[in-house]
């Protein structure tokens, strides 16, 4: 009886702690962003000015004449600091979507390979042992998912950025400059630290997780479904497509997990994206995501309003990630990886 009571208390305490942590996290972020909410209101979400410091400028009349005092010196005025999260939200949205576009086909292809092809591809060694290629690839994919993001960031900075700047981006930029209709994506200067490189690093980082989850989801497709389509004269590809269709909700969940990871990713992307609050059509312009903005400025925020604005960005990011995770969880767990009859 006694030990039951103690253990009962312990597990309840654990469950409650998680809830309290979550609630206090939201509460602290919300309370911290009140200043910013009061000052900017909903405009915070649509303004693209991010100016942490007050600006001293010469005062001008409405027709543009400089206002002078009695001595003839220009009168100075102070424009207060202003914060708007639009470039960061835009940067997060665009880099995540581009990363998904690149990563999803690759991941689904890899998952299908692991389920449909790799198990039958076990080369036989001279001594009769068979090399379980599928298991090795699965292991490597899970290993990739566990690599700390700073490692991806440093690889991006030292390998990908120079390569993008000197090889891939000039080529793409030439195409954008010469193909009619794509001119809006042309850039005058290439730095390599831009939206495209950021998205690419994100794509590389989310391939393992999407592959691993969709492999498990595809493994749960009943053999009867595959055989059912084959028995009706489906080709190998058509039966693969049938697998994807059968597990579409679970696969969508896998993609949402990838999206959540891409949107929340901080270290790697802040090293390669350039960190300038830009909203530009060209993929070769430096940009900023919500997480890279936070990583760069939190430690340097000097005014109350600056801190408050950063906390509001964090709140938006938290709510977004929460939404992605809830949707993903519902789709994967709720449906058991497939559609139930």
């Amino acid at each position: 009886m006694g030990s039951d009571a103690v253990l009962g208390f312990f597990v309840r305490f654990g469950a409650v702690t998680v809830l309290v942590m979550m609630a206090s996290l939201v509460f602290v972020l919300f309370r911290g962003s009140l200043d910013s909410m009061k000052t900017f209101g909903p405009k915070f979400l649509v303004s693209s000015t991010w100016r942490p410091n007050d600006l001293e400028v010469t005062k001008r009349t409405s027709d543009g004449k400089i206002v002078r005092d009695a001595d003839g010196d220009p009168v100075m005025e102070t424009i207060p600091a202003k914060f708007g999260a639009l470039p960061a939200i835009y940067g997060t949205a665009v880099s995540s979507i581009v990363a998904l576009t690149l990563a999803v086909p690759l991941s689904l292809g890899a998952a299908l390979f692991l389920i449909r092809i790799a198990p039958r591809l076990r080369p036989r060694l001279p001594n009769g042992w068979r090399v379980p290629i599928d298991m090795w690839i699965s292991f490597l994919i899970e290993f990739l998912a566990a690599i700390p993001s700073i490692a991806y960031g440093m690889w991006g900075l030292f390998v990908l950025v120079p390569y993008m700047q000197s090889h891939l981006e000039p080529g793409l930029n030439w195409i954008f400059g010469h193909v009619p209709g794509l001119g809006f994506m042309h850039a005058d200067a290439l730095t390599g630290r831009d939206m495209l490189t950021g998205s690419l690093v994100l794509a590389i980082m989310i391939v393992p997780i999407i592959t691993a989850v969709s492999r498990d989801v595809l493994r749960a497709v009943p053999q009867a479904q595959i055989e059912g389509s084959l028995a009706l004269g489906a080709t190998w590809w058509q039966s693969c497509f049938e697998m994807l269709r059968y597990s579409r909700s679970g696969l969508f969940g896998a993609v949402m997990l990838g999206l959540a990871r891409a949107a929340g990713e901080t270290m790697a992307i802040s090293m390669v994206i350039g960190n300038i609050p830009n909203i530009k059509a060209t993929p070769f312009a430096a940009a900023q995501t919500m997480s890279s903005l936070l990583a760069n400025e939190v430690s340097e925020a000097s005014t109350k309003l600056h801190t408050s604005s950063l906390l509001q960005v964090a709140l938006i990011l938290l709510l977004m990630s929460l939404a992605f995770n809830i949707v993903a969880r519902k789709l994967i767990v709720g449906k058991g990886g497939g559609v139930r009859g």
């Binding site: 059912g228 004269g233 059968y246």
Partner: protein, 311 residues
């Protein structure tokens, strides 16, 4: 009748006419559980050397599918030992036998579904209308369209009823809506499902009951216009009423299609098949008209199985 090796297999000593009908010779054994157990574990003489006992009626039919000394192994486990079988066109042929005797494997070999299984080894061949099934140049996709299949557990796709039925046409690239509508209605009518679903063709197939789902799978197989329907225990997951409907359907399909049905349910085989093959340990032991197999089988092993004394 074929010559048999008398050394290993025993014939019933009585002539068939003198046998007491469906009642087994050893009926008294059934009353005593202990002896019954003994009968169940009775080492049915291993069919090692004896050829299949094929009744002459089978040979007299026109055959659509023939199996020529077909052997199949999963890895090191030999599942089928040199099967020879001729299947009559337009008739219903049942494969019966205890679990693991290879009847499903034989059925799945007919449309080469076993190709999917890792480590499968195949010898011998089958012929469909004289054409080899296992030849290197066979178009498997085309073959599977001619030999439709219905599975043990209904496996509708996660789509509407309509899309399920026309799946075979869709993947073959059929685009005409009029044609799809026509085939859908015709197939559902053939599968005796039309009246129940005609008002909800575009709702999900998962909304149907188990029996309806299985009939949907039959409709889906029929829509591909196969010549042979392979049915792998189509009623094993159904309740008696749904089973009755599917059995009636199989009876209706006779003549239009050649049906090969694997079943564990001996009454089912007796009710809806023309010919029955009794399989045991990867071999066909006896193959003949259903009535003969159930009422006056040639072999004691067959009799023991159909009367429920082993298996």
């Amino acid at each position: 009748m074929m010559q048999r090796a008398q050394t290993t297999l025993t014939h019933p000593s009585d002539p068939p006419a003198a046998r007491p009908g469906p009642k087994p010779a050893g009926a008294s054994v059934n009353s005593n559980p202990a002896e019954n157990r003994a009968a169940a574990s009775l080492p049915v003489v291993l069919p090692g050397v004896a050829p299949t006992d094929v009744h002459p009626e089978v040979d007299a039919e026109t055959h659509i599918l023939t199996v020529d000394n077909f052997k199949l192994a999963y890895g090191k486990r030999q599942t089928l030992h040199g099967i020879n079988m001729k299947i009559a066109g337009g008739k219903v042929t049942a494969l019966i036998g205890p679990s693991g005797c290879g009847k499903s494997t034989l059925l799945r070999s007919m449309n080469r579904l076993n190709d999917l299984v890792d480590g499968v080894k195949i010898e011998g061949d089958m012929r469909f209308k004289g054409q080899s099934i296992y030849d290197r140049n066979v178009d498997v996709i085309d073959l599977r369209k001619k030999l439709g299949m219905v599975f043990q557990k209904s496996n509708p796709f996660p789509m509407s009823i309509f899309e399920n039925v026309v799946y075979a046409l869709r993947i073959a690239g059929e685009r005409s809506n009029a044609r799809l509508d026509e085939v859908c209605a015709k197939s559902l009518k053939s599968a005796a499902l039309w009246e129940e679903v005609k008002d909800r063709l575009h709702s999900s197939a998962f909304g149907l009951s188990g029996g309806q789902q299985q009939r949907l799978c039959i409709a889906r197989a029929i829509a591909a216009e196969p010549e042979v329907l392979l049915m792998d225990e189509p009623c094993s997951a159904l309740d008696p009423i749904a089973t009755q409907k599917v059995e009636e359907l199989i009876y209706e399909l006779r003549g239009k299609y050649t049906v090969v049905i694997v079943t564990h349910n001996m009454h089912q085989a007796a009710r809806c098949s023309d010919y029955t093959a009794f399989m045991y340990m990867g071999r066909i032991i006896e193959y003949g008209p259903t009535e003969a197999i159930f009422v006056r089988p040639h072999l004691k092993e067959t009799e023991a199985y159909v009367t429920g004394r082993f298996g």
